[in-house]
């Protein structure tokens, strides 16, 4: 059984149509000198218009690589998509020639990056960079493009947008730069927006502003949002569905309330338990022992088994547990999900 056997339909409104974006059994590997790292190993998820899917995981779990593969901006080499499909409204983007695929980028699926300072070009004014979207994709003149840029900067609530449109990225604060990134990404009215750690580099007060802006834009435009993050707080605030990733695989996928209140995978549960809590102040925090595996040498069986409190012999034997459906909306890849769900900790 592979991970493809389970594709979870989002929400209740099943219109018979496919969701806007369907990722199925995606495989990405990095060919390095030390060996082949399977960064993404059979990831499947779907996201529908107006829905927020959060992809949660630690660094190196493959959550950003999945996004890069969807966008088609993976560095090749060393990264190669070796299998699976990414269907946008029925069209498999991975099968398209480069030239055609370009038309989807920004237009249908857009992306926001973590570090706005390095994602923006330092030698062009922000207005010119936003206007470029319209000039390249819509064939607008420079003047019209700039007018559009001012409009967008106002939309993302940059004060005195008209005066600042000719400023350069370094003249803006971190929060403002992230707003400019958002302005660029929504310029062409994409149907899917991928936000890769959009607020990780920001202070909490600014993070609150940016998340509020994203939520408003999503509501107004009925966009599908894929939020990639490691922050359990941000996810709890905005997500509808959560996919938890570990070592290149989705280990649990469920609606937000289930993940936080009834986790079925030991890794999800461990992450939640390691949050400092008011009622246990000063006490020792629960810590998942050990480290995430090196993707070149993933342990046999379930890749979480060396760190897992539930691990038995069956977990150390291949094949790893498949993503098994628990109900219409949730799935988990663990031999002992019943025990995890019902709290009999070993």
């Amino acid at each position: 059984m592979t991970a493809t056997d389970v594709t979870i339909e989002p929400g209740s409104e099943s219109t018979g149509d496919e969701p806007v974006l369907v990722v199925e059994d995606l495989q990405v590997e990095f060919r390095t000198r030390e060996g082949v790292a399977k960064a993404v190993n059979g990831v499947s998820y779907t996201v529908d218009a107006g829905e927020t899917l959060a992809v949660l995981g630690e660094s190196g779990c493959g959550k950003s690589v999945t996004a890069q593969a969807i966008m088609g901006i993976l560095d090749t080499p060393p990264g190669f998509v070796t299998g699976g499909s990414v269907r946008f409204k029925g069209t498999d983007l991975l099968k398209l020639p480069d030239k055609e695929r370009r038309t989807y980028r920004g237009e249908s699926i857009a992306m926001i990056f973590q570090d706005a300072l390095s994602a923006l070009n330092p030698v062009y004014s922000v207005g010119r960079q936003i206007a470029e979207m319209f000039r390249v994709h819509r064939g607008m003149s420079k003047k019209d493009g700039m007018a559009k840029a001012v409009e967008l900067m106002e939309l993302v609530r940059i004060p005195a947008a008209k005066q600042r449109v000719n400023d350069y990225p370094h003249q803006f604060s971190g929060g403002m730069r992230q707003r400019i990134m958002i302005a660029m990404s929504i310029a062409l009215d994409p149907e899917v927006l991928i936000a890769d750690e959009p607020t990780t580099a920001l202070d909490v007060t600014v993070q609150a502003q940016v998340m509020e802006l994203l939520a408003d834009l999503q509501r107004e435009r009925n966009m599908a949002l894929i939020l990639i993050t490691h922050d359990l707080g941000v996810v709890a605030d905005v997500a509808d569905t959560i996919a938890v990733m570990y070592a290149g695989r989705i280990v649990e996928q469920a609606p937000v309330y289930d993940i936080y209140h009834r986790p079925a995978h030991p890794y999800t549960k461990g992450l939640l338990q390691s949050i400092p809590r008011v009622d246990a102040k000063g006490a020792e925090l629960y810590a998942i022992k050990g480290l995430p595996p090196n993707l070149i040498r993933v342990p046999p069986g379930c890749s979480f088994n060396p760190r897992c409190a539930y691990a038995q012999d069956v977990c150390r034997a291949d094949p790893p547990p498949a993503l098994e459906r628990l109900s219409g909306t949730r799935a988990v890849a663990c031999h002992f999900h019943e025990e995890v769900l019902h709290g009999s900790r070993q």
Partner: protein, 344 residues
């Protein structure tokens, strides 16, 4: 983490301004970045003092000045009763042994060309009286063991370790000279969630074992609450509110503290629709030209004329038992950390 009565470190009115200059040859003085502008506190034995605030509020400058990596513009500090900033030469060297620092970024704070043994053992070269030469390798191995690293890895290089392990190396180096105070400047913010908990636990157990006092600087409010006995909230170079964790987190009185706490996302989706959030407008003003009077007034919803004219002092006010630098201080509960509904 019991509150001892004896004061280890006492700081009065600490100020650190960086000059702003213009021109290449004839540097003209054009202003000052007021990074730290009048900070006072006392640190007790075995206590953890948390310092929270947004980036640019001066918390890292405070760490540098306290470890005498930077000289303050004015102000005083006594470590075990001795004047920290008046000390020079041998006297300063001896004082520095008592106050060590753990840096934020475990990737850039370790020299990539030195082995772990050299990194952790380097303090002994500077302070040879702590460990005689023949004893050093054993001492380094002991330190690695204390912080949960394999002593056999003494000859490895930093790149052979993960982020969490590197932070343990940094902590071992900080512990080497048996200091009484360790300044932790964002020690866990570069680490993954599952590794963060390990390092926080390590810091907690080391504190009990060696009777350490921590100054714990971080922007993650829930981590600070977990580890701190008292918390100071900084804004633009000043402490705006000071109290024990209950006072700061359950009854914050300064509008900035309230806004900061309410901005922290709660790791629990339950009731997220009804959550009341104070969203501040704009960014913090520049520390070169801080606003007159109260520095927070440009982003504050309570601001009145009085705030522009008169700077509020950091004192307890009617209805507020702990010091808060606001003319209109008023305790108000804002939710912060998950309640008992999550799995435990």
């Amino acid at each position: 983490m019991a509150l001892g009565s004896d004061v280890v470190l006492s700081v009065q009115d600490l100020v650190k301004h960086y000059p702003l200059t213009k021109g290449v040859v004839f540097k003209k003085h054009v202003g000052e970045v007021k990074a730290v502008d009048g900070v006072s506190f006392e640190l007790h034995r075995g206590e953890t003092l948390g310092i929270v605030g947004e980036s640019g509020c001066g918390k890292s400058t405070l760490a540098k000045v306290l470890t005498v990596l930077e000289r303050p513009t004015s102000g005083h500090a006594q470590l075990h009763g001795e004047d920290l900033f008046a000390a020079k030469g041998k006297g300063l060297k001896a004082l520095r042994r008592q106050i060590q620092i753990v840096f934020q970024d475990p990737y850039t704070s370790l020299n990539p060309r030195m082995t772990v043994g050299d990194i952790v053992g380097e303090p002994f070269q500077i302070h040879p009286e702590v460990a005689p030469k023949g004893d050093r390798v054993q001492r380094v191995k002991d330190l690695l063991d204390v912080v949960g690293l394999n002593p056999e890895h003494i000859n490895r290089y930093p790149h052979q370790f993960s982020g969490g392990q590197r932070q343990r190396i940094g902590i071992a180096r900080g512990l080497a000279l048996k200091p009484s105070v360790i300044v932790c400047d964002e020690p866990v913010s570069a680490l993954d969630v599952s590794v963060q908990a390990q390092v926080i636990n390590l810091l907690g157990s080391l504190q009990d074992e060696f009777d350490l006092s921590y100054i714990f600087i971080a922007h993650d409010l829930s981590v600070v609450r977990h580890i701190s006995d008292r918390v100071g909230v900084m804004y633009l170079g000043k402490i705006v509110e000071f109290g024990n964790d209950e006072q700061i987190y359950e009854r914050p009185a300064h509008p900035y503290t309230q806004a900061l706490l309410s901005a922290v996302p709660v790791a629990d989706p339950l009731g997220r629709e009804d959550r009341h959030r104070i969203v501040l407008t704009g960014d913090p003003p520049s520390p070169v030209n801080p606003p007159s009077g109260c520095r927070f007034r440009t982003r504050c919803w309570k601001a009145a004329d009085l705030c522009a004219q008169q700077e509020p002092a950091l004192v307890p006010r009617p209805g507020v038992e702990h010091p808060a630098a606001c003319h209109f201080a008023e305790p108000e509960k804002v939710i912060v950390a998950p309640e008992e509904s999550l799995p435990s």
